[in-house]
Amino acid sequence: MTAETPQSISPAGAPLLHVKGLKKHFPIHGGILKRQVATVYAVDGVDFDVFPGEVFSLVGESGCGKTTLGRSVLRLTEPTAGEVQFDGTDIIGLPVDELRRLRRQMQIIFQDPFGSLNPRMPISDIIGEGLLAQGLTDRKARDKKVEDALETVGLRREYTRRYPHEFSGGQRQRIGVARALALEPKFIVCDEPVSALDVSIQSQVLNLLLDLRRDFNLTYLFISHNLSVIQYFSDRVGVMYLGKIMEVGTVDDLYRNARHPYTIALLSAIPDPDPRRRQKRLVLKGDVPSPVAPPPGCRFSTRCWLREQLGNPERCTTEEPELRVISTGHRVACHFEDRITATTVADRVAAQSVIDTAIAAPV
């Protein structure tokens, strides 16, 4: 219906967000003396660019570091190492006051429609707070903007004196969007904005996000674990696994021509409501390893079906694969990506036993 939405922007020109070597490690303290006993490698060396006007998505399983990455990019948590540039400005070194001023340009929308709104504040304060913090002290002007923002997300102007508990999940999510929008940002991190919503409400919020993107020329970093939503919503996608990006490319690169064994398995795992498209799936073994002790070499090696099929080559567990360019804009972190052929997946599916999938391979 709105065909002008720029769904396939070519990644050219200067990026709006440039991330390089970004790491975020959380120390784990233990014992009586609260000494550091271990480290969570939540985000462990991630590079990507987000270009103006595009939707760049991050997909991955729970605990792979998507949220941590999103927050580190906004410096809501201090990254351990790495570079983040927003619109040419280095964010990492920025003094607190300048960072606060920059916040109006880069916003975030949260997953939990219940936890992300302060239950003891009326909507006017929840949305207006950012404007106040950015120096708009005139109450009247602020209220006007709050009402405008509410209307923009499809809620009534009169709701400003209401409290969050009076709204349904989808409506609260709209309030969260209005809060981000009120500051008129250029860039919004959407951290699983529809995961907590019912199916019939998800599409409303996705529509809203796409409309706003077009109307206000927004750029999104969109985080989700729902592959169908990502396919519909994004221009380019990064697949994360244990704090690293495993594959990056355009939606077509990934969904039509996935080259990483993990991406292939992930895509095969989505249950499809259309019975005519039902296929046998490729089932991965075991669970995601703990980010406290990521496997040596390739992080996916413990669960990798390709490695198993190739007879467990040593290289997978000794050398960490780099994110290599395999075609324009399509990068993959796998040593043996070129060994995947039309029949590899089918062979694997035919050979697998779905009962024996509880445990991953030893390293």
């Binding site: 913090a133 209401r162 409290y163 409506q171 409309d211």
Partner: protein, 318 residues
């Protein structure tokens, strides 16, 4: 900067469509209740808590008005010519009877005692909650070394025996003063509050709405006062009610042992304590009425605490 929310007709149509999708016409809009109004609605359904509230309200009225109607001044009490150890049982003139010894009206004592006992319970609670909230907030928000230090101080405070401190302080500041008891009880009741507030800070600090506030550039001060404290308030209120109950019993306890408020100012505790030696003579009404007052108050306060716990818990429905 206002052109972003422009009023072009095209955009207006968009808005209408969006509003239609959002289905704004139902669900929201029947009544608007703040969190506190909602809490009151739930509280009202808690019968025991309502009774408790009634009792406490009555006692507070009695504590304020009572001593004016039946003043008590130890200095003007006439000393009887002959000490009569046997008091007189409840009668029309003295509904709670008369004490042995000085032949005081028990009702008069209990009414006057309520003022001191409630005063001690509530003001020591205020001191405790204030200190506890400040210490807990600092520990929870600042964290690190300061947090560690403050929590160790809490540990030390928890290991001090209050009786001993009252005895020693009595030596320096004079035995039996109400203010001293209030201060000491206050200083001994903040530790639980501070631990509670600290843990509330630690969890609320990580909540998404605080993160969201930070993301729009809100400063620390506002985050503490507008986001964290209001949300930590309900558990504090619950604990506060328990402190009041605990300290009223505590006062009775130390007065009973003779370390509390001097008998020149009646408290429920020291009335009981004085009655002790006369019980063998059958003066049952003398200890009974102050004792009942203590039990009633503590029960009432605990009921209120229970009611508050349910009413302020956003998850509880019925």
């Amino acid at each position: 900067m206002s052109d972003v929310f422009s009023n072009e007709p095209g955009i207006e149509a968009e808005r209408l469509r969006r509003a239609e999708e959002a289905g704004e016409d139902y669900e929201v809009g029947l009544e608007s209740l703040s969190q506190w109004q909602l809490a009151w609605r739930k509280f009202r359904h808690h019968r025991l808590a309502l009774i408790g509230l009634g009792i406490i309200a009555t006692l507070i009225v009695v504590a304020i008005a009572g001593p004016i109607l039946m003043p008590f001044d130890f200095a003007t009490i006439p000393v009887p010519d002959k000490i009569v150890y046997q008091g007189s049982p409840p009668s029309l003139a003295h509904p709670m009877g008369e004490t042995g010894g000085l032949q005081r009206d028990v009702l008069e004592l209990v009414v006057n005692g309520s003022r001191t006992s409630l005063f001690i319970g509530f003001s020591s609670m205020f001191i405790g909650v204030t200190i506890g909230t400040i210490v807990g907030s600092i520990a929870g928000y600042v964290g690190g070394f300061l947090d560690n230090l403050l929590m160790r101080i809490v540990d030390v405070m928890l290991s001090l025996p209050i009786l001993f401190v009252i005895l020693v302080a009595g030596r320096f500041f004079g035995n039996g003063s109400v203010v001293l008891i209030v201060v000491i009880f206050g200083l001994f009741s903040w530790m639980g509050v501070s631990r509670l507030v600290r843990s509330q800070f630690l969890s609320i600090r990580e909540s998404e709405f605080v993160e969201a506030a930070r993301a729009v550039g809100v400063r620390d001060r506002r985050i503490i006062f507008r986001h964290i404290l209001p949300n930590a308030f309900s558990p504090i209120v619950v604990v506060a009610s328990l402190i009041v109950a605990g300290n009223i019993i505590g006062e009775a306890f130390v007065s009973f042992l003779g370390f509390g408020v001097s008998p020149t100012t009646p408290t429920w505790g020291n009335i009981l304590s004085n009655a002790l030696t006369f019980i063998p003579l059958g003066n049952w009404w003398w200890p009974m009425f102050p004792g009942l007052a203590i039990i009633l108050t503590v029960l009432a306060v605990n009921f209120i605490g229970d009611g508050l716990r349910d009413a302020l818990d956003p998850r509880s429905r019925a």
